[in-house]
Symmetry: C2
Subunit: 317 residues, 2 copies
């Protein structure tokens, strides 16, 4: 049994623990949603593609806009109903590219990407879940304006939770892509990889999309083998996280490596290697001699790695 | 601690433990795939929408057709590369409605739906995973012949693992919908529901799609509350299964109920109620006095329920 490490209090994972009641049974009640949208207490999250619009507030930022604020943003092109926070309606407001660019010049606003917002903690942790919900839904609308079945233009219905085709009558639902993200473990070593788009010195878990016709456990083994050449046996689910880049569900796992030799798939990874547990602890705690790191607490990779550092083989117990 | 029950040997879950090597790195090698497809040792699974075509073989059936068999089936409209079984290429062959109907008249073939094939064990258990892979992929092609971004007709590339739009250059990937399926547990009782489309007397776990912006655990709690009014606390992942009806990933969980009162959502369920553990055991073992049942072993619901019958609160350990 590997020794336990005490890394201090667990930080909060991002985009989860939503405070919203989704109230799915109200999505088809257009009159109710319309009244809710006009309510001055409503909360509106404003998204333009990969960018999120924040309202400056003293030295900080507000993520939620009032209905009146929204009217002053210019042309919006999509509204989705996120749910209720107590009695207040929460909506995602989608902007086109030109409208988003125009807002970047406004001194009362801050327009930036969601990763920066999350990592730098520009908004409260409770705002991340509704922003994730809004961003994933709005991205789906932006990329699904036509019917995949017949090509006709579709219409958003049910508060943005369905698009209907007036031509062939097909109904389309928001898409969420399941992704496995896993730490392969061989005793006191774990397998980390680097994608070329990662910040310098950052290493993380391997990850990949679950494909049609496979289980989570099969996807973990296949992706690890494809990307690194390492075979895995036992797979243990750890936790999950919505990941709105653009619309994934990250399914975090630990996997028991049953081979050591690494053959890196250079089309997916820049590098992959085995790390000793002690070194990974210094990376997670930002005390590595070379300045190497693991992902920040907002990402599930941080927690997958942290759990292994803390309890070692206990992750398979 | 609830007593353990011995239910005998565990039956096999359906559609998992694929014997295929997906060989994703060969998907863009058209010459390789073409040669593989002509190979007389190849295995071809033939699907027409919800129906699967089997070859009669004495008193039994074969699921896989040779390349020569496929040529005698008439017009096929899609081919997808499933992977390799040893050196043999495995393909999914899609048929249109008319072609499928024409084959129903042939005395050497048996054309039926996949649920019946799986439940009745008409093919070997190792055939179910490639059939699931083929059916999910082919359904995606059938419903995604146009670009959701611009409406133009798209083309299948990379052995059927991508569709490209020649007009706007968008790339589209097969869709897999994550679904949570869970057993809510209150001590020695569990919550089962009936959809009106279920066979008479069958009760199962509740289930629903994971939505954008939520974790697996949040989806389990939301779906249980929406469908039955029951609130859940702790959620524990159990296992997963691809479910090609049409293209879901079933994510099986146990959940600790923290409320008892049931309010059934009649748009989703015909009925939902609490069952005592002893009664559920008789249902799973097909010994219930009224003939009530739980789903067959091919479905993950069977295993989620079985695990709780076997170890009780141990599912949360």
């Amino acid at each position: 049994m590997s020794p336990r490490l005490n890394l201090g209090p667990k930080p909060r994972l991002g985009y989860v623990e939503s405070k919203l009641e989704r109230a799915a049974e109200r999505r088809d009640d257009a009159a109710y949603l319309s009244a809710l949208q006009g309510d001055p207490n409503g909360l509106n999250y404003v998204i333009g593609g990969e960018l999120v619009v924040l309202k400056k507030n003293g030295g900080g930022f507000n993520a939620a806009f009032t209905a009146n604020d929204v009217r002053n943003l210019g042309t919006t092109n999509e509204t989705v109903f996120l749910g209720l926070l107590a009695d207040a309606g929460c909506f995602g407001i989608g902007l086109g590219e030109a409208a988003t660019q125009a807002l970047q010049a406004r001194p009362d606003l801050h327009v930036t990407d969601l990763r920066s917002i999350a990592v730098q903690g520009l908004v409260g942790p409770d705002d991340l879940a509704p922003i994730a919900e809004a961003k994933a839904l709005l991205h789906w609308h932006a990329r699904h304006r036509c019917c995949a079945n017949c090509g006709a233009a579709t219409q958003s219905v049910h508060g943005g939770w369905r698009r209907d085709c007036p031509h062939c009558r097909a109904q389309h639902f928001p898409r969420t892509d399941p992704v496995v993200i896993m730490l392969a473990i061989d005793g006191e070593n774990c397998l980390l990889g680097r994608q070329s788009r990662f910040p310098a010195g950052m290493w993380s878990c391997l990850a990949g999309f679950v494909e049609p016709g496979e289980s989570i456990e099969e996807a973990v083994r296949r992706e690890t083998r494809e990307e690194s050449g390492v075979s895995c046996g036992r797979v243990r689910y750890f936790a999950s996280q919505p990941w709105p880049f653009p619309s994934s569900l990250m399914i975090g796992c630990h996997a028991e490596a049953i081979s050591r030799e690494i053959v890196v798939d250079r089309s997916e990874l820049e590098e992959a290697r085995w790390f000793e547990r002690e070194e990974v602890a210094t990376m997670l705690l930002r005390r590595h001699v070379e300045g190497w790191t693991t992902p920040p607490p907002v990402a599930i990779a941080h927690h997958i790695i942290r759990a292994w550092l803390e309890v070692g083989a206990g992750v398979f117990a």
